[in-house]
Symmetry: none
DNA sequence: GATGAATGAGGGTTCATTCAT
DNA sequence: GATGAATGAACCCTCATTCAT
């Protein structure tokens, strides 16, 4: 019966294969042939479903965003005390990057291309994180309770939390070489996780 | 008289052109023809001086590292009081990324390629930052003076300082889209600079 | 309707064109563009079917071997008297070289490359001539009938028969120059054919 | 003092390097850079002394011919008895090919190029072998003494003697593969030498 | 929906050769 | 006589994409 005749599965297999390929090789380095082969599909199908290599890249990126947004959504930060909620977000963010390196690669690739794909995506914009609202709320509650400093911008803070992990993980190859340390050793990873939590929680305290 | 007969200048023009091209297009997207044209040189010269496109990329990367290392060296942090020294480093790092976006792009590209070029570079290893020693000294002095918390790893701190700026700037295209803000507006840049200083200085205080 | 949509014919046209090109220009001198043009095919197809220029060369070589082996097979030497069989083989070999100069050129080219292509070909090995068995049988029967000398190695004899023609024909350009004779004149060719038969048949007689 | 300033030695070093390079890689595969490097000379010198790569090839070929002709000359076949003289020539020819594989390669290369270089060489023609005369004399003496058959053409015989060794040695890579024998093993070489002598001497006997 | 065959525009790289000193 | 730097024309190969079935 072969692979065919299940359009949805074919489409989704192509998308998964594309995500892996783009994550490993970037946009320019990705090979359409390889994606098709990995997906067990014909190359033509890729164009049938997605139009072009670039559109396929956008689809992969959109799916990646949707995935992290949905995971964040399940964190349920609204009903926890401010410090606990912040800590939870910090840990989640670190772990997400750690477990989804392909997400970082897609981001890096897209930004190397000056965001030209997300630029024309309406979906990415719609996914716009309600997390900022949640974070704003956490900060406000923390301020009120006298735990946090005043005047912290939730967007800036979110970028800081992400940046602490992203830079370490996405640039691990050059950093490992420069600092002559294996940044991915279990002990090193635990140390970084601890450092990030220390940094952010100390930084916001009053 | 044409371009020729000044080997050092020819070589350096090629390297400059390559840096620009790699920064704008990544490794895969860079075009050897374009580099040669921009350098006002013959395509063959590129191979004469650098051997291959990849070796040329490595040369550009090495030069970029040498440049930031040398700029850091001139900061003269050793003779300043701990808080002042730290602040100076934070500002320098932010400004360096801001003024040398090509450095970030080269880094991102190299890491997309799993550090395969720095991996075989002895020069990059030799450039290994004495900054870490300086930072360690700053932290120690701050501890002794009762200004800073104990137990902060200088490498982790350096990565934090860098990461705060790097993530914001290198991922500005996707972040601008997601948060629907122009992250490169002068006011936004100033705000980020302030935020980073606040974060780091607050994070290390006792 | 263009050329397309007959994969077998396309493949075989490419192989024929490649054989001609390699025969005329050697491996290094052969031009992929020219092969494609002669085959009335797109250059890309050559890689689609054969992988690389070198693999294409090997395919051409294998086909050439298959062809001579199959022609030898049809000689039906087993049921003839020893002298007649030997004479027939001598004539066949000379005529084959004469009529298939491309075979000699392919051989010379391959040996100039130290046999690196046949080295990795399993097919060539499988084609291993059953002719040697036939020749051994002819020699044995000739011995028994008191016609031939004892102790002649069929492989050595086969190489002698081939060498007598090959050297004359494959080196005809330099030989013609050195001896100041047109070695390809009909009369010269006939003389050589006669000489070879005389040589070999006299050499084996008792 | 470097290499320079001894024109004759420079020229001769280039020629030696070229012979080795052409012998190993053929005309198309030979690299001008490699020849210059091997000769310890500047690439420009090669053009200064020889004009072009092709002219250099011709010079190498001419030198190779001059060398074998001069070696043949020293055989002193004129004053030996016919059988002995013939045997001596057979052995010499085999050994010369065996010890000067580069000569065979140059020949093969030149013939692959349809003799276009010797074609315009006056020197090669002048080197025209007096060996043919010697061989004619040997045959005549052998006939008179009742040892040899009548009507053997010395040129044809010379080509036979050469061909018996040349085909075996120059095509040793493909032959080894086809017959699944190591044709260059000492024992195999000795066997071939014996076979050739047997063949030729038996072939000419009355 | 799905397939294998076909396309043409470059991609990086190499080459023999020549120029300026 | 000798050198390193420079040239431009190709060369092999690859790629995203589309056609015919």
């Amino acid at each position: 019966m072969k692979n065919g005749r299940d359009p949805l599965r074919t489409r989704s297999r192509i998308l998964a294969a594309a995500t892996a390929e783009f994550a490993h090789h970037g946009l320019g380095g990705a090979r359409v042939d390889r994606i098709a082969r990995r997906a067990g599909a014909n190359k033509r199908m890729l164009y049938y479903y997605f139009g072009s290599k670039e559109d396929l890249f956008l689809a992969a990126l959109e799916q990646a965003y949707a995935h992290i947004r949905s995971a964040e959504h399940e964190l349920d930060l609204e009903h926890r005390d401010p410090r606990e909620a912040l800590k939870r977000l910090i840990e989640f963010t670190w772990n997400y990057y750690l477990e989804h390196p392909e997400f970082m690669t897609l981001l890096a690739t897209e930004n190397l291309h000056k965001g030209s794909h997300v630029h024309r995506s309406k979906r990415v914009q719609r996914l716009h994180s309600p997390l900022v609202d949640t974070l704003r709320d956490i900060l406000r509650r923390g301020e009120r309770e006298g735990l946090f400093r005043r005047g912290i911008d939730p967007v800036q803070l979110y970028i800081s939390i992400a940046g602490e992990g992203y830079f370490y993980l996405s640039n691990r190859y050059t950093l490992s070489r420069i600092f002559d340390r294996d940044l991915m050793a279990p002990r090193a990873l635990a140390a970084r996780a601890g450092h990030i939590a220390d940094m952010v929680l100390n930084a916001v305290r009053r």
